[in-house]
Symmetry: C2
DNA sequence: TTATTAGTTCATACATTTGTGAACTAATAA
DNA sequence: TTATTAGTTCACAAATGTATGAACTAATAA
């Protein structure tokens, strides 16, 4: 299949959403760009770990990086990422609501 | 942080998109429900493997399963999943276009 | 020049996901 | 009852992803 290659690339971009720290970063950057240390201050954890996650997200094209002097600023590559992320959050919320309804029946 | 739990749940739902076979299944189901063997016929591979992927997607609430006699029918839990998936595909396509432009400059 | 800030890269250990084939279950047909 | 169809579950090996701390680089300040 010729399409299998597309599915691999597509899944690869989607993988960039599949980690709690990366979701947190996407959430943070919805209000505009932030530099590395600002992101680190909010998320906590090791800087090496954050740096690696940001690198992955940038390589997969969901973040843009812009260096200015000592600082490295990160932003979402497009609003499509934020939109997709919000839709998946809605899917989560809908699931949790359904589970609540099931819970009440028991 | 109280939010960290949300990020974990959110990432967990997003993880369900991060595999080529699962992307292919989401693509397939955009036209409506299909039973297991119909999906297998299109995607190929081992039935045990497909079954496990479908189970994960169902558990994470992005697919619904409906048993009818011998057959197990699968469908997208909501159009939000399909929409998010299409947005991420657009992100991929935009990236590939940008790479093309860079390539031409070289 | 030396020190500091801001972040990246690397090696490695650890954890999670994935693929595989065999064994299993549940529904229907012979 | 026995066989077949349709799919699930299981155990385990292989591959991938993640966290950690130490070493590194590049830009600015003293």
């Amino acid at each position: 299949m010729i399409n299998k290659q597309i599915f691999e690339l597509h899944a690869d971009v989607c993988k960039a959403l599949g980690h709690p720290l990366r979701i947190e970063v996407i959430d943070l950057l919805q209000n505009g760009e932030l530099c590395f240390s600002d992101i680190l201050e909010v998320t906590g954890g090791l800087k090496s770990n954050l740096s690696q996650h940001l690198t992955v997200m940038t390589n997969k094209g969901i973040l843009k990086a812009r260096r200015e002097g000592q600082c490295n600023y990160f932003s979402l590559s497009s609003d499509k990422v934020a939109k997709a992320c919000r839709l998946m959050r809605e899917v989560l919320v809908d699931n949790l609501k359904k589970q609540q309804i099931i819970l009440k029946k028991i």
